[in-house]
């Protein structure tokens, strides 16, 4: 948890739009940040991942069947 706190606000959620095929698993695991459009493709409400959601975000990344989702540490 301390890891998440120190890293708070410096993590970014990225989607590879070509790889993503609209499984929607991410929206189920991370509804705070990801919704779905009428075809089931993700709508990212905020790319900033707050510390308290970091674990959920990492779970969503791991569950995406086509590895389209990433959480990156922001530079600068």
């Amino acid at each position: 948890m301390s890891d998440a706190q120190t890293a708070s606000g410096v993590h970014t959620l990225l989607i590879d739009r070509i790889a993503c095929d609209g499984h929607g698993a991410c929206a189920e695991l991370l509804p705070e940040l990801i919704g779905l459009d009428e075809w089931g493709y993700p709508i990212v409400r905020s790319t900033d991942v707050p510390g308290e959601l970091l674990d959920h975000a990492r779970r969503a990344v791991a569950e995406c069947p086509v590895l389209a989702l990433r959480v990156e540490q922001k530079h600068r």
Partner: protein, 451 residues
Amino acid sequence: MTETQSSSPPSAACVLDGPTGPYGSRLLYGWLRTGSPADLDEHLDRYGPPPLPRTARRPTAGPLVRAVEEAGLTGRGGAAFPTGRKLRTVAETPGPAVVIANGMESEPVSRKDKILLSLAPHLVLDGASLAAAAVGAEAVHLCLPRTRAGLVRHLAGAVDERRLRGIDRVPIHVHGLPHRYVSSEATSLVRWVNGGDARPASTPPRPFEQGVGGLPTLVDNVETLAHLALIARYGADWFRTAGRPGAPGTTLVTLAGAVRAPGVYETPMGTPIGELVDRAEGPSEEIGALLLGGFFGSWVPAETAMGLSFAKNDLAAVGAGPGAGVIAALPRRACGLAETARVLAYLAAHSARQCGPCTMGLPTVAEDFAAVARGDADTRLLDRLAGRIGLLSGRGACRHPDGASRLAATALRVFADDLRQHIRRGPCAAASRKPVLSVPDPAAADAQGWR
């Protein structure tokens, strides 16, 4: 050369003024002076050989990078990004690099790159060669649309001539690519040169990180490179003698639609749009709105647009941008909704169909818009359309859907009165008249293939 300005080139009365030609021209100097494309002899007479550095580059930014930064040159391919910053990034990456000169000009209204490449090919090639030296590139790839076969031959011939005279230090490869709206996007070019489809790739890595053959790759528009070739010779201060401090240099614009002399013009950055319309001999009839930038651009009401300076910051204030340098005038009698519907159908057909939100979103927005143009829309459809337009931006691997979103959103705003009419009384008479913007047949897109 029917597509450039129709006025005949000025005669001997015009005085030679260093690197600046008639009407303050730079890139089109030779054409305005002689009335014919500049061959290599004429080019060398006017400018001499490109001032290539004597020594091989170290991984630092040299004098040309600094000059381009000081000049304030911005990219002429659409995004108006500072060219010096891109040069520096690639120059400071250790190891060899690659340069791609983007002469694809996929924007259907634009003719500026074709005119520039036809009339001053050696200025573009000098720029590519100089940029290659500045970033330590091993090769240059000049990407052209293969639908313009004559242009591809013209440039290949120019490169051969230069090779015989030993002008360039690195090989320049001339390629003909499928001519589609997104085949000209930077990552599409990289993919194609690498042997793949001319379709956008996911980023990162961006081309400057990992492009052709995995090497850092500088992608610049051909007009940008031509300006760079002049900055290398005459310096940043000279470059800034045209335009304004925040919008330096000259730029090529394509004027189209309801103007008397449509064509390509070179003008100082920041010229008021009304003045540009006058240079095209004024409106051919009363103008209601202007499309600025291109098909991925913005509609602006004529009253607002005519007083605006054609420069990034001024245009940004009304939600527009210079884009590919397109200014298309829509007559007041025309139906902006019907025009926009046709452009959206074209953009939808030109999606690379790789990303869900673009593949699904663009055709539905185009269909909704067509319903609006036909007068078949009710408020429920309008709400749905607004929602779908809002969901296009930032949700593709490339910015193709962002452009379509901007076009659609500005159309709904600028043609709001027409919209009310269409909903209340059905389509106006103008909606069934002959269209003003010439939009290529969307069905032709797939015939090009991607390779």
